[in-house]
């Protein structure tokens, strides 16, 4: 018997056919990678990893767009047509499973299909809210020219909730894959790597012809459009971000002892309090002649945090009534720096909480981009 078999042309294992085409598999594992990076940098890593987070998010967005196009003109099981979702079909599927058998699904089963649509939708929303957050909160990216900080903050809250929901959905996805692999006896993870599943005994669904060149043409056009728009929009001045140049007298007079703090870092009340008491300026006499004092006060008032929409301006606009002159006494400053150990501020390299530029490389222009945070090596605990 065994001799017969070994010489026979009949394969030992049942025939396996391609279910997931190459692009679906690249899409799937590419998405795994991009979402992993985005989740790790978003949930776990410090804020100066923002660039990696944004790049991962951009990859997620591109993959979603590809998948939508491929859902229309991809191969048989890639097409949305092959996994319709409806309440009736879901009920049917549940009843099938409950009955202990159920139809075999060569492509996505009902729950799998639902999860695909759900993940595509939530990842698209994550990408969109991410871009709005980047524009409004960090004042970077294609929407920075038009997005207010308040809008960015709302987008950020939604982004964070969606991210947690996504994690739950991914857990459900893995559980579903495990369950279905066990139920059907088909290793679904391997199937997503090799693309193959055991050929069904019955008739195979008629194959749809994939249109890779059409897809490439559509995606190239979309990419050119989106890329051009992104580059041009990102070049526009960001909304509510103060100009880089400081008043030269301010830069000279205030900058001779300390960082010439951009006026957008404090509210009008703080600047009034500071300028009214230069003779007792944080433990020193920093008096200026009347005309210079007036000139600088006017300039500070005209450029105080109330006039700008950066994250710092929004954060430090509200002074601490108990210590109105000190930006580092504001509730926002304390909250934003709560994870920084005291030893960092006390280190010789940093030299105190007032030395913004010791760790924020762009402090002098008042931007405080997350990517520009770098705690000096010597100051790290």
């Amino acid at each position: 018997m065994s001799m017969d078999r070994s010489t026979s042309h009949e394969p030992l294992a049942p025939a396996r056919i391609i279910v997931w085409d190459r692009l679906v598999r690249i899409f799937h594992w590419g998405l795994v990678l991009a979402v992993t990076f985005a989740a790790a940098t978003g949930f776990l890593f410090p804020p100066n990893w923002l660039d990696i987070h944004v790049i991962s998010g951009a990859f997620v967005g591109c993959l979603i767009v590809f998948r939508v196009v491929w859902g229309w003109i991809g191969s048989t099981y890639a097409r949305f047509r092959s996994f319709p979702v409806s309440l009736a079909l879901l009920r049917q599927h549940v009843a099938d499973i409950a009955a202990g058998g159920g139809t075999r699904h060569l492509g996505h089963n009902q729950f799998g299909g639902l999860m695909v649509y759900g993940l595509l939708a939530i990842l698209a929303l994550l990408t969109i809210t991410g871009i709005v957050t980047l524009g409004g909160v960090v004042k970077q990216g294609p929407l920075a020219f038009a997005t207010s900080f308040a809008t960015g903050q709302s987008a950020r809250q939604i982004h964070e909730i969606l991210a947690i929901v996504t994690l739950l959905m991914l857990a459900a996805h893995l559980a579903g894959v495990a369950f279905e692999s066990w139920r059907s006896g088909e290793n679904l993870v391997r199937a997503m790597i090799t693309g193959r599943k055991a050929a069904p005994s019955g008739p195979v669904e008629p194959l749809a012809t994939a249109r890779p060149f059409l897809a490439a043409a559509i995606l190239t056009m979309l990419a050119a459009l989106v890329l051009t728009a992104t580059i041009h929009l990102s070049d526009l001045p960001a909304r509510g971000v103060p100009p880089v140049a400081l008043d030269p007298t301010y830069a000279k007079e205030c900058g001779s002892c300390h960082l010439a703090y951009p006026p957008s870092l404090a509210g009008a009340a703080t600047w009034s309090a500071v300028m009214a008491d230069l003779a007792n300026h944080f433990g020193e006499n920093a008096s200026l002649d009347i005309s210079t004092t007036t000139q600088l006060e006017n300039w500070l008032q005209a450029n105080s945090a109330e006039h700008w929409d950066t994250r710092a301006a929004n954060a430090f606009r509200i002074a601490n009534p108990a210590d109105p002159q000190r930006i580092t006494a504001t509730a926002s400053w304390v909250r934003l720096h709560q994870d920084v150990p005291d030893a960092v501020f006390k280190s010789a390299k940093v030299g105190g909480k007032s030395s913004c530029s010791a760790c924020h490389r762009d402090a002098a222009i008042g931007r405080f981009d997350p990517q520009q945070i770098s705690i000096p090596r010597e100051a790290r605990p």
């Binding site: 002892c257 030299g351 105190g352």
Partner: protein, 139 residues
């Protein structure tokens, strides 16, 4: 002619060796402080680098607690750069190291005005200012 040559030789030697001597602007300020000092005390007979040094190094308890001495920020060596309490570098006080020190009256007055109050808790007298600059000219 011989006088001029000697003067020239002396000047070039000063320049080469960077021997500290007040420039015209610094001399003008010293003259102003001398006039004022004389107005306060007719017996005034010139500034003393030694008194200037004492003033520079002295510890004070009458000023603001964070700045008990000039040396808090400027270090005890006027030829070395100092550092503000906020961490910014301060150029050396000695004119041998920073030739444009004490050459703009408004700046000189601004810093004496601020720092005498911070360290001593009072304004410096013209005599003290002249002594201080005389000390720094020699450094």
């Amino acid at each position: 002619m011989r006088m001029t040559l000697t003067a020239l030789a002396f000047l070039s030697a000063s320049a080469t060796l960077a021997v500290a001597a007040p420039g015209p602007a610094q001399q003008a300020q010293l003259d102003t402080y001398a006039t004022l000092a004389k107005a306060v005390d007719p017996a005034f007979a010139g500034f003393s680098a030694e008194h200037g040094k004492t003033l520079f190094l002295a510890k004070s308890t009458t000023g603001k607690p964070d700045t008990p001495s000039c040396t808090t920020c400027h270090t005890a060596d006027p030829t070395k750069p100092g550092q503000t309490r906020a961490g910014k570098a301060i150029g050396p006080m000695a004119i041998s190291m920073k030739a444009d020190r004490y050459s703009i009256p408004a700046e000189t007055e601004k810093w004496f005005g601020r720092n005498c109050d911070s360290v001593l808790g009072r304004a410096c007298t013209p005599l003290e200012k002249g002594d201080f600059i005389t000390f720094m000219v020699g450094q």
